[in-house]
């Protein structure tokens, strides 16, 4: 394709919209009178606004508003959904706290975990023997497993709601 044709086809839309300078219009008309292919493009571009005006806008579905609202409501996270898991977490935490004999037991548990972690890291560094594995309590593990599941679900809900507030 000749360079003049490339330029002419770029100018067809401004020509139809009446945005070209008279000098440019003159050059373009002169080219169109000589180039059959560009004349076809011009005919197509000229008729496009008319064809668009004739085309009818599609009718919106009757239930459009209702369906959109239903989807928005289904996607909404209510404050109930946000704060209820916190109650469940608190209950599970209190059960665990009661099971390990209060805050003193909780502190002891954390201290033992820190000691175990230090011992394992020391073993990894070759500075100590491998400590014996800690005995797990099935009930406590179950409560903590539920707590993990609840907190993860809760954080997912909070993240969704947080995105909407930003």
């Amino acid at each position: 394709m000749a360079a003049i044709c490339v330029w002419a086809r770029e100018q067809l839309e401004p020509l139809v919209d009446g945005d070209l300078e008279p000098a440019q219009v003159e050059v373009l008309r002169s080219h169109l009178s000589q180039c059959e292919a560009c004349r076809e493009h011009h005919a197509e571009a000229s008729s496009l606004p008319t064809r668009l005006a004739v085309a009818r806008a599609p009718e919106p579905p009757i239930n459009l508003v209702r369906d959109v609202l239903r989807r928005v409501r289904a996607d909404r996270v209510s404050p109930m959904h946000v704060w209820t898991p916190l109650g469940a977490e608190l209950v599970l935490f209190l059960v665990a706290l009661w099971y390990v004999a209060g805050f003193g037991g909780l502190v002891t548990l954390v201290q033992r975990t820190a000691a175990d972690a230090g011992a394992v890291l020391g073993w990894g560094a070759g500075q100590a023997d491998l400590p014996p594995p800690a005995a797990g309590d099935l009930f406590l593990l179950l409560v903590c497993g539920l707590l993990v599941a609840t907190t993860l679900y809760h954080l997912t809900l909070l993240t969704r709601l947080g995105l909407r507030l930003s």
Binding site: V82, W83, E89, A117, G124, G162, L163, S166
Partner: protein, 234 residues
Amino acid sequence: MPLRWGWVGLLIGLILVALLLAWLDSTLLRPLFPAPMMGAKRLELVRSEGSGIRLPPVGRRELVFYGFGPAGGLFSFWWFVTAGVGVALVALAALLALPGRARRAADRVTVAALPLMFAAGIATLFLGLALTVLLRVGFVLVSIVPFLYGLALLGAVFGVAALALAAGRWLQARLGPAPPLLAALAALLVLIDVSLVPVAGWVLLAVAAVTSLGLSVLTRVGSATGWSLDELNL
């Protein structure tokens, strides 16, 4: 950017209040501070009788200024000062290290979002406790626990920095323009001043720390995409 006198006054006022509270905490209010560890003793002031400056009494308590006391120890004047300066520097370092992430996280801080961030912080604390128990039974996995706690601490520090940046913007809207780091420093000084008030200040500090942790979790440390898996598709 010309700094307005309001900012200078605010910063000087906040620093003076912090120093005064640190001194009060290390002297008059020190009995309110518990000894958190068996081995740690509250540092006693080295007094030289007759050399102090008598101050106006507070109620029935006689108040004498014996100086700021020796450095070191727990709950001494210099301990409060260095702890406050440390918190401010670490938070400002977080702003310097991750400016884009801090800005995005601060953009998400609104009055409506603060309760959500607090709830997220509480949930994260519960999650950490539960994981501690579960990972301990995993034996070798117990070595992950300190790293989890370290991550939580880093998240809280980042959250404090982002909250300070957001609060700094709020101050900028009222006091006029100022460099963002300076505005964040003013907000951090407010937090330090509040935390130096015994009991009520500790509660507010704990709420701020938990909210900061929640802010970091909800924004995925100020990530542009948040908790989205879209990045996996790129």
